[in-house]
Amino acid sequence: MHEMSIALSIVEAVEERARQEGAGWVSEIELLVGKLAGIEPESLKFCFSAAAAGTLAARALLAIEEPEGVGECGECGMTFPVNFYYAECPACRSLRVKIISGEEFLIQSMTIEEEEE
């Protein structure tokens, strides 16, 4: 369900900007959804088509890039891949791990077509 309200906010943000740019329609939207962001890309895509119906983004392709989680140890400074928030430093076993990548949730860009189709 929350993917639906999120899909609506994406459509709203994209449409607002597309109008400012004088776009006829939007053909592609690039999203950055980190693996730790708590968003399911598949269900987001599913909700997106419903949320975008009747808008400038109705036929937009949703391209989702999913950055891997990366943690940094607060004790020894090592960086390493993490799949979850309860990461443990593989070098010193510390649990004081700071997430430095994987929480992104951004609209990167969109491609607009000048003419209406």
Partner: protein, 267 residues
């Protein structure tokens, strides 16, 4: 169509007040957004790939985040300390508020925003304590957002220097993503759930500031390892402030009350 006022709003959140059956206010998000969509002839030329790329680099939740910051500014200006209570349905959010508010109320003013998909049941329970309360019914929505709280707080008669308790919709997933402008997030888990819950819903426990283990009066009857649960929660977020209590018997409540009183004195 809304069956209370007959307006055309489809879905969307509604504010209600206990004991005032004629009070109801729609939280309208798309007041004058979309509208002028028009259909038109299709040309027979194709222009795939002829598009122009526009860089946004914009947080998807930017709109909510900006509004949450405005709420936060409002709270700070009025020295209101806002807590966002989060849990699965039935972990005891409303019970805890019912139990702790009478004691807190003697020290400072308290107000409550209740979030549920339907009914004013929880707001009715809080109303009985004599504190200002408003109910947000989210309908199909599974979380509160900053806009709903913005509208609700303006309808709520709050004194300066109040403690504001916001009870979110029972759900451990998406309420973690939506900042409401609160000072702290409080996640509640009860001993009738699994002690691995923090590992199953890491985003929520990662975002929280305080974790309360509730229903400890039931510990003798259930297989639940409180120490293990705490350890799991700390693995997800080692900054968590941890409390164990029973909203039913009041055991362990004093520690939370004292901690909150300390926070109210500082903020």
């Amino acid at each position: 169509m809304c069956d209370t006022c007959g307006c055309s709003t489809e879905g969307g959140a509604v504010l209600r007040k206990p004991g005032q059956s004629d009070y109801h206010l729609h939280v309208n998000e798309h007041e004058n957004a979309h509208g002028e969509h028009h259909s038109h002839e299709h040309g027979d030329h194709h222009h795939e790939g002829s598009g122009r790329k526009v860089v946004l680099e914009q947080d998807v939740l930017q709109k909510n985040n900006l509004l949450a910051e405005r709420n936060r500014g409002y709270f700070e200006a009025r020295k209101i300390f806002a807590l966002n209570f989060l849990s699965s349905p039935g972990s005891g959010k409303t019970s805890l508020l019912e139990k702790i508010i009478p004691a807190l109320q003697q020290r400072f003013p308290v107000a409550v925003i209740e979030g549920d998909q339907q009914t004013t049941n929880d707001a009715d329970r809080i109303q009985a304590l004599g504190v200002p309360v408003i109910q947000i019914n989210t309908g199909s929505g599974c979380h509160l957002d900053a806009l709903m709280v913005n509208r609700a707080m303006k309808e709520l008669e709050m004194q300066n220097n109040s403690l504001l308790c916001i009870e979110n919709v029972g759900n451990l997933v998406c309420p973690a993503l939506f900042d409401l402008g609160e000072a702290l997030k409080v996640v509640i888990i009860s001993v009738t759930e699994g002690d691995d819950k923090p590992l199953k819903y890491p985003t929520m426990f990662h975002e929280a500031d305080i974790c309360i283990l509730n229903k400890i009066d039931l510990l003798p009857y259930v297989e639940f390892d409180a120490a293990k649960c705490r350890e799991n929660a700390m693995r997800v977020n080692h900054h968590l402030e941890w409390f164990e209590l029973s909203a039913k018997t009041g055991e362990g409540l004093a520690a939370l009350r004292e901690w909150l009183e300390g926070k109210m004195a500082q903020h």
